[in-house]
């Protein structure tokens, strides 16, 4: 197996690209996709450590993360569709209803 640090480095790069997506893009759909990218890079790090430690528990955890991500995407996209029907835009700057 390659050194663990290669995989962790790739995971870090993907995570930071996801952070940039959340910070730079203003379409809620794009922000959501960037969050999925960050979840995936964390999964990659977990699988890497599972292989390094030869322990199955981290792989089980990735399985649960994928399950929760699927549930989260279903609810999140339903919310986005509802917001789009009200405001006719996906621009994140318009969603200020909860602003004090």
């Amino acid at each position: 197996m390659l050194p663990t640090i290669f995989y962790i480095g790739l995971s870090v790069l993907l995570f930071v690209i996801g952070v940039c997506g959340v910070l730079l893009r203003r379409s809620t759909l794009m922000v959501f996709m960037s969050i999925e990218l960050m979840l995936n890079s964390a999964n990659l790090a977990l699988v890497t450590f599972a292989n390094q430690r030869q322990s199955i528990d981290a792989q089980i955890m990735v399985f649960f993360v994928i399950t929760i991500a699927a549930a989260e995407v279903a609810v999140g996209l339903a919310l986005l569709v509802m917001i789009f029907m009200r405001k006719q835009t996906t621009n994140i700057d318009t969603m200020t209803t909860l602003k004090g």
């Binding site: 990659l44 699988v47 991500a69």
Partner: protein, 167 residues
């Protein structure tokens, strides 16, 4: 050989992620994200996780990306950020913060003693097989497994309730 596969897959994954970030069209972004997920699935195979490879392709590439594409096309929101960003200093600050974050993580990783990143235990050719995962999932992690099924049911009910006609 493993290094060659890793380098090619890593380059594909990074290109997919960067293209997702920079693409103006949300449909293209979703498809580049699919490319990225596929590359990560190949890395799972390299890391002895064939079960997660299948789950990644079915759930992420199969279900989540299709849901994204469906919503983007349903809303017709492919191009929804034509106007300039009202906060002008946001982009440079965000990029500076991202570079700082990379630098910080790399610093921590390099300072880490090499022992903690070295391989532990002997390589078992059966490691990560579906049988082994099922064994752990249905014995040690049975309660989280049941809770996950409940979470999925809750998400299902939540989506149905959200899309009820308002009376």
């Amino acid at each position: 050989m493993e290094l060659v596969i890793f380098v090619i897959t890593a380059i594909v994954a990074i290109i997919g992620a960067v293209a997702m970030l920079t693409s103006r069209n949300a449909v293209h972004s979703a498809l580049f994200l699919l490319l990225n997920f596929g590359a990560i699935a190949v890395l799972y195979l390299l890391l002895q996780a064939p079960f997660l490879f299948a789950v990644q392709l079915i759930v992420y590439a199969g279900a989540i990306i299709v849901l994204f594409l469906f919503v983007v096309m349903l809303l017709g929101a492919e191009r929804d950020e034509e106007d300039a960003n009202p906060i002008r200093w946001q982009a440079p600050v965000a990029i500076t913060m991202a570079v700082l974050l990379i630098g910080e993580i790399i610093w921590v990783l390099v300072r880490q003693s090499q022992d903690s990143l070295a391989r532990v235990g002997s390589s078992d050719s059966d490691f990560g097989s579906p049988a082994q995962i099922a064994q752990a999932l249905f014995t040690t992690h049975l309660l989280p497994f049941e809770v996950a099924s409940f979470v999925l049911l809750t998400a299902l009910i939540g989506v149905v309730v959200l899309h009820q006609r308002q009376r």
